[in-house]
Symmetry: C2
Subunit: 315 residues, 2 copies
């Protein structure tokens, strides 16, 4: 395995960027220019075989997810993608695998207007680390901005990825549309469509990687407040709802939808913009002064959270 | 292993930076401001157990090297360190190992004025990925700037790290000062002292990670020129010179000294500045129009390069 030849062969001109690249892949480091009106947003996430994805996952899906989880962090900050670096370690230089991986990666990179500017490739256990950089022109969307009375929203159905993981792990068998759940697990979509529209209105935002309760908990801790969540409003695949398997939606991770809070004064304007752009979001509850309570519905019956475990990564 | 608790416990306030950090570790991503006069320089390198370091390497040395190899890339571009992200995968959450690793990492980070701003920790084969960002106010030092007639310099003795690797691999036994060579392998020094002083004068620069011939080769290819190198001028540990084991200096990697080229018109001024600052560099040859020739000395007898293999990483 020669890291230089690998990088040159599969990852040249991977993606595209709206932001200047002064020196691209090929020197000791990349050189970039940042518009004077922008702040940088930087994130880095690693996916490891048998930890973050089962070994049956295709090269194409691994690439999709490795980039998507980083892009999702940028979306959750209200940032626009700019550039990324990639480090892959592979047990062997499998050309077919690399071809499939790089095609999927570069397709996603182009779609989200982010360009590969460097990194390395080496021999080792299968593992992918991506560091992604984005730009913000306005204020970043933080976990710490939620205020009492804010309405809490999520950007889409929750629990499908966790069900997908259970299917892949052979823990669930008698369920229809298995492929749909596995697709949710392997190919999350960074929700820039939602982030871009709601960022002028949101007080706080996070992406749902560890599960709704855990990630909403991060907002509550950072914002020093509490929340009431109404289970009947939490969007989830109808098969999960019908079978009362709501723990997938509450504590299942890997959905990469956004969770955000919006003050009542901004609701009307935000809803109008969302409607105009045909983008749906789901109001699931409200920020309170303290505590995290999940009710079955508006009647006040509490869900027993003690029976719901936090999300654990595969393996 | 809970990645959040690990990060919080060992890596808060790790290092320091001269550049603004608007949102530090703890949100979905870090938010940074870039001075309008600066360009960004970004690099990312992974070290994997049994590939880039033997499993006998201490946590402290692994941390030192993981940061140093990235800092060395910044030095080779003429950049000033600013921030870094860290992804560690560990077979188990060994507290003693993490304590030793983080203490060494944060000590180095403070020394080189770079601050940890994010990343993640997960369970898996031992592997460390660091993405480092630096700033340049002037032009970057590229591989492509060498010009015919430039003098070629290296910043220090070459070959000690490769000898260290041979000692660790039990391929060499009858040699004195083993610990010194192993230290060169495990604890390279990013040569900002040299880079900072010579960057106004250098036409091209690279750091020596793959070995002198391979890395000088990168400069020659990028600059479309050749070089004559004189072996008797190449600095190396005296034990290697005395035993004619010059292949360690020519093709041994991991020294992380700098190699750079300077036009004759700038030599006097550069040498004066270096002398004033008590920093030594070593002139080893000259840029030519094409080809890479290594001579024993100024008399014209060629070294047989066919017998010298390119550097291969451990494992």
């Amino acid at each position: 395995v020669n890291e230089f030849s690998l990088i040159n062969q599969y990852f040249t001109e991977c993606g595209q960027s709206a932001y200047p690249i002064d020196i691209d892949i090929g020197d000791d480091a990349a050189v970039l220019s940042v518009p004077s009106s922008s702040q940088l947003v930087m994130t880095m996430d690693t996916l490891i075989e048998n930890v973050h994805f089962p070994s049956s996952t295709s090269a194409s899906d691994i690439a999709h997810k490795a980039l998507a989880v980083n892009l999702s962090d940028l979306a959750a900050m209200g940032a626009t993608p700019a550039w990324f670096l990639l480090s892959i370690s592979l047990p062997e230089a499998n050309e077919q695998w690399l071809k499939e991986f790089s095609q999927s990666l570069c397709h996603q990179a182009k779609k989200y207007a982010i360009k590969l500017i460097g990194g390395d490739t080496c021999q080792g256990a299968l593992s992918i680390t991506i560091q992604a950089t984005g730009m913000i022109e306005q204020k970043p969307l933080l976990r710490s901005g939620a205020q009492m009375g804010d309405y809490i929203f999520v950007s889409g159905a929750l629990g499908a990825a966790a069900m997908g993981l259970n299917i892949v792990q052979n823990k669930v068998s008698n369920i229809e549309n298995k492929e749909t759940y596995i697709h949710s697990l392997n190919c999350p979509t960074p929700r820039f469509d939602v982030s871009n529209l709601v960022k002028p209105y949101a007080h706080a935002m996070i992406d749902l990687s560890d599960g709704l309760l855990a990630d909403l908990g991060h907002i509550l801790k950072a914002s020093q407040c509490g929340a009431n969540v109404y289970l009947d409003r939490v969007p989830m695949p109808s098969a999960l709802k019908q079978s009362n398997q709501y723990h997938f939606a509450l504590s299942g991770g890997d959905d990469y939808e956004l969770c955000f809070t919006v003050p009542i004064a901004s609701l009307a304007e935000m809803n109008l913009i969302l409607q105009e752009n045909n983008v749906k979001v789901y109001e699931i509850g409200q920020i309170t002064s303290a505590g995290l309570n999940v009710y079955h519905d508006g009647k006040g019956e509490l869900v027993d959270l003690a029976s719901i475990n936090g999300y654990q990564h595969f393996g």
